[in-house]
Symmetry: C2
């Protein structure tokens, strides 16, 4: 079992930029947004190949449990291990718990960390990249999947690739992590050919990752270990101890480990990828009519161009508009200019603050 | 009683350009859109002054009966005569019925025809204009209320004023009726000072109007007379005979009589007026915030300018948009560019056609 790959599905995110469809109890990974099934189901299906993968583990928020169990059963992944987070603590804590679980089963095991809300159309290409990354991970590298940019995106972090680590594998050392760039910088990155998008997908040797965590985030690691030790079984799921888990620093794996370790590697991914991070991202990958509109549900577009118009409830009619995102549910409607839709999060934050202040029972809306 | 003025409220319109709020069973005159009460209530209140007016008569579609009775009672106009049209037949037929009713009570009576969906803020100024118009109407003129344009509107018909009819009254002969102009023509009309908007409000001597109808539309008049003769009393309302009323040509009073008679006069009105014909018209008269947005209901505007955003149901959030109309009800949402909102009617027509074709029971939506 020295080469065992344990797929870990991270389903902790809220996806607030896809409000009003994506909500606390129905975050975007649990929604049918594009293609067959939900994003979570599509992600799980990519990692069900038993010739390559150990059984699936899903780390998710408490609130998601019911739909999660249902959706896993629908695709024949009902045997997946479910780890419930009593509160959101970002990706470093989830990765720590996962690494501890993997190490307990297989000291030399690798964990494949996959956010549950990414869209990757070509599952076979994804698995080819996993196989290639495994060679690098087995050498002890914390291996990140880098995506070749097909546009100068400003919504992703970038990685500059360094020297090849072995002549027989495509992985490279990480020369630099760079934050989301402005448009001009993104164009330069893309033209240079030296940069890849940081996908947030990782293949990590459990032992090496835990060693780095111990060096950089010892408190986080010990709190995560305690949360796991004191975890309770609940109808087949593992519920992390709330008190201990709450003590984990809420930090992304990138900041906690990847940007600090000497052992970071990046493998160029052989597939097209999007994090479905916004309605405009969804528009860009959706099927569109001759006026460049993507429509879903009971929608009527009139003199409308280049817009994403979706209804999960009322009839929506648009007239004489362009470059808009219009999303309607039974209790909320978003109308945003497509190039402003990263700010949807601000609306959600504002609603949460208003709710907190008013102490009103409006949790269903935001 | 030779000077009796009978106010006639015409509530037959559907107001489809205010979809999705205005529907078959809730046309715009029955909605609270601006100011206190509904447009119908505001119109009725202008004509309840017993020192000037005889009791009110309301001509309305069968479907509107229940809300109409309720709304009239709310403002103390429960004694109004209600005439129910079994089907829509435009304004000439309604005016014919009204003139016959007035003549039966007062052979020299004047009828004041008022569409129920116009907004006139200054009721006292309105009554001043009625008094001034009465002098002209008593001379036998079919007197139309003309509004001094305060913008080069392209959504209204215009009237060119001719010679003064009497030295002691402001009314003029009508030199010409002109159709809705294009922008350039409207600017020229406005600058010339010779043109007035055709408000659709008329003060007519019953006898003279019926004589002209007999000359120009004898079939319409005899069908209207028959519809009234065979009308039935129904819980205090007068229901016109469906078979006879159906035979009335569906034509506006303007085309049927006003543009053909030698007895047309126009009185410059002394009040500001709008027909609330579109959402953008409503925006222009609404109170607006510092970003020029008018909002109604559960609405959140963010980086939004010069827009009308209204909800009668769901939470509506706008982000990074301008010059939009966004109107949401519990089952339908409109998103239109403000300068396209005259075309809302096309959406409603399309929905009606789709419904007719599909023979589906979706009448509640359009």
């Amino acid at each position: 079992m020295s080469e065992a790959i344990f797929p870990i599905l991270m389903s902790g995110g809220g996806g607030s930029r896809l409000w009003p469809l994506s909500r606390g109890e129905a975050p975007k990974q649990l929604l049918r947004l594009v293609g067959e099934g939900t994003l979570l189901q599509q992600t799980a299906l990519r990692a069900l190949d038993t010739s390559l993968f150990e059984p699936l583990t899903v780390i998710a928020g408490e609130k998601q449990r019911e739909p999660l169990v249902k959706q896993l059963a629908e695709i024949g992944a009902g045997e997946a291990t479910i780890v419930l987070e009593p509160m959101a603590r970002n990706t470093a804590a989830a990765a720590a718990v996962a690494a501890l679980l993997v190490q307990a089963q297989s000291p030399d095991g690798l964990l494949l960390l996959m956010p549950a809300d990414h869209l990757i159309a070509d599952a076979e290409a994804f698995r080819r990249t996993v196989r290639a990354a495994a060679k690098t991970a087995r050498d002890g590298y914390l291996t990140l999947f880098g995506i070749k940019p097909d546009s100068p995106a400003t919504g992703y972090g970038y990685i500059r690739g360094g020297a090849r680590l072995r002549p027989d594998a495509p992985a490279r050392a990480v020369a630099a992590f760079v934050e989301k760039p402005d448009r001009e910088t993104a164009v330069a990155y893309m033209e240079s050919g030296e940069y890849l998008w940081n996908s947030g997908i990782f293949l990590l040797p459990a032992a090496a990752f835990l060693a780095e965590l111990k060096a950089f985030e010892p408190d986080l690691l010990s709190a995560a270990a305690e949360a796991l030790q004191r975890a309770t079984r609940d109808r087949g799921a593992l519920r992390l101890d709330p008190e201990a888990f709450a003590r984990c620093r809420s930090v992304a794996i990138d900041y906690a480990v990847m940007e600090r370790t000497e052992k970071a590697a990046v493998i160029p991914a052989d597939f097209s990828w999007t994090d479905v991070g916004s309605w405009s991202a969804l528009w860009s990958i959706a099927e569109r009519d001759e006026a460049e509109n993507a429509t879903v549900g009971d929608v009527l577009t009139w003199a409308t161009r280049s817009s994403y118009v979706r209804s999960d409830g009322p009839l929506v009619a648009t007239l004489g508009v362009e470059d808009l995102v219009v999303v309607a549910t039974k209790d909320a409607v978003l109308v945003a200019r497509k190039d402003h839709d990263q700010d949807v999060r601000k609306i959600v934050d504002f609603l949460h603050e208003s709710q907190a202040q008013a102490k009103k029972d409006r949790d269903t809306v935001a």
